[in-house]
Symmetry: C2
Subunit: 193 residues, 2 copies
DNA sequence: ATTAAATCTTAATCTGGTTCAAGGTCCACC
DNA sequence: GGTGGACCTTGAACCAGATTAAGATTTAAT
């Protein structure tokens, strides 16, 4: 599978020489996912950090009532997975699945740790990645605390216009923290009457 | 000011020798804050990453209506600040202030970058710190999406028992995403009738 | 092509939580 | 020791969004 995308991603924050790329390439596991296919399931330890090369993945939490709550969508160029399970090696409370046919690279935990030891600049890469991710999480939190469903939907559409193609509305509703029915109402109002 | 706490914190994830500690100590700026004092205010660029040595700080967002929404509390041993403003050097949308008399260390951005260059193991420290922070943020997001105010309050009390001493209830309500009035109602129900 | 399943919409009703307004409590400060 | 101010509580009216149930539309499998 083509690794130019993932290296372009690394090189947004750090420089890599051929030797380093070779090491990284040698541990990445490429996989093709069919739409709907599960990557991680509740109860199993997350063995890999996941890079989305193409397509779109979704990570969600299923509560006691059986309702799903979307934590994040991951498009091409994003990393995803359950960091809690991955870090602590405890069973995951989330599920991750493909929303469209997708190509991903798995980075197994042991290999990731090896790479981090061997190339400290990768620590820098992931430090920056996670730092930015915190900013996004805080932004979303603020949105949920202070904006109406209507405003949240508008911001979501602006922020992730491409997602509305891939993603069924019910998952967008879930991401926004509302029901599909209410999103439907919002959309009708928005579209004129 | 006593730096043993902050180094103990570093050493939870990385080992530091005396030379490294000296470098770090030489750039940390210690400060004492009075209860209520502002550390960062809306509209100004966040110049420092902030370590809380003792006491308790709070970071919050003030929306268009003038309501405050608490993003995080930071107790002794925690780092805090507006990572967006700090990273991008854009005006902060958050305020940070002391909830009790507190001691903090400021780590100015330029010094932090210098330290990260000089001691790559600090990249590792902050990578782990941020990685864990993402897990917490996701946990809170899930709570807000799937649990009732009642459950959220219960979980908060269990998770941060010490905070209920420092923190006025109205800020806990804000953190939970409800009004003080409704928190009051929840507390009454909880305490018998 | 046909059917079944998943998704999206509509409308009526209901509820968790807000808003508004008032009163009570606990300080700090002159 | 009283007065002002921040905080907490209470209750009534209200609303954003949930729930329930039904129908309409799209998608995918046979």
């Amino acid at each position: 599978m083509d690794t130019s995308g993932i290296f372009a991603q690394f090189e947004r924050h750090i420089a890599l020489d051929e030797k380093e790329k070779l090491s990284i390439r040698s541990v990445l596991i490429s996989a093709r996912l069919r739409q709907g296919e599960f990557v991680e399931t509740v109860g199993k330890v997350t063995a890999n950090f996941i890079y989305v090369n193409s397509g779109c993945l979704m990570t969600y939490y299923t509560d006691a009532d059986g309702s799903d709550h979307v934590i994040q969508f991951a498009m091409a160029g994003w990393w995803t997975g359950d960091l809690h399970s991955f870090t602590k090696e405890e069973p995951s409370i989330y599920s991750t699945r493909a929303l469209a046919d997708s190509e991903v690279f798995y980075l197994p935990k042991a290999d990731m740790e090896m790479l981090l030891q061997k190339f400290p600049k990768l620590e820098r890469y992931f430090r920056i990645l996670f730092q930015n991710s915190i900013v996004s999480h805080q932004y979303r939190l603020i949105q949920n605390l202070s904006a109406t469903a209507d405003q949240r939907y508008e911001n979501f559409s602006k922020r992730y216009p491409s997602l509305e193609q891939y993603v069924p509305l019910k998952y967008i509703a879930s991401y926004l923290g509302i029901t599909p029915e209410f999103l439907s109402k919002i959309r009708r109002k928005r579209s004129g009457h």
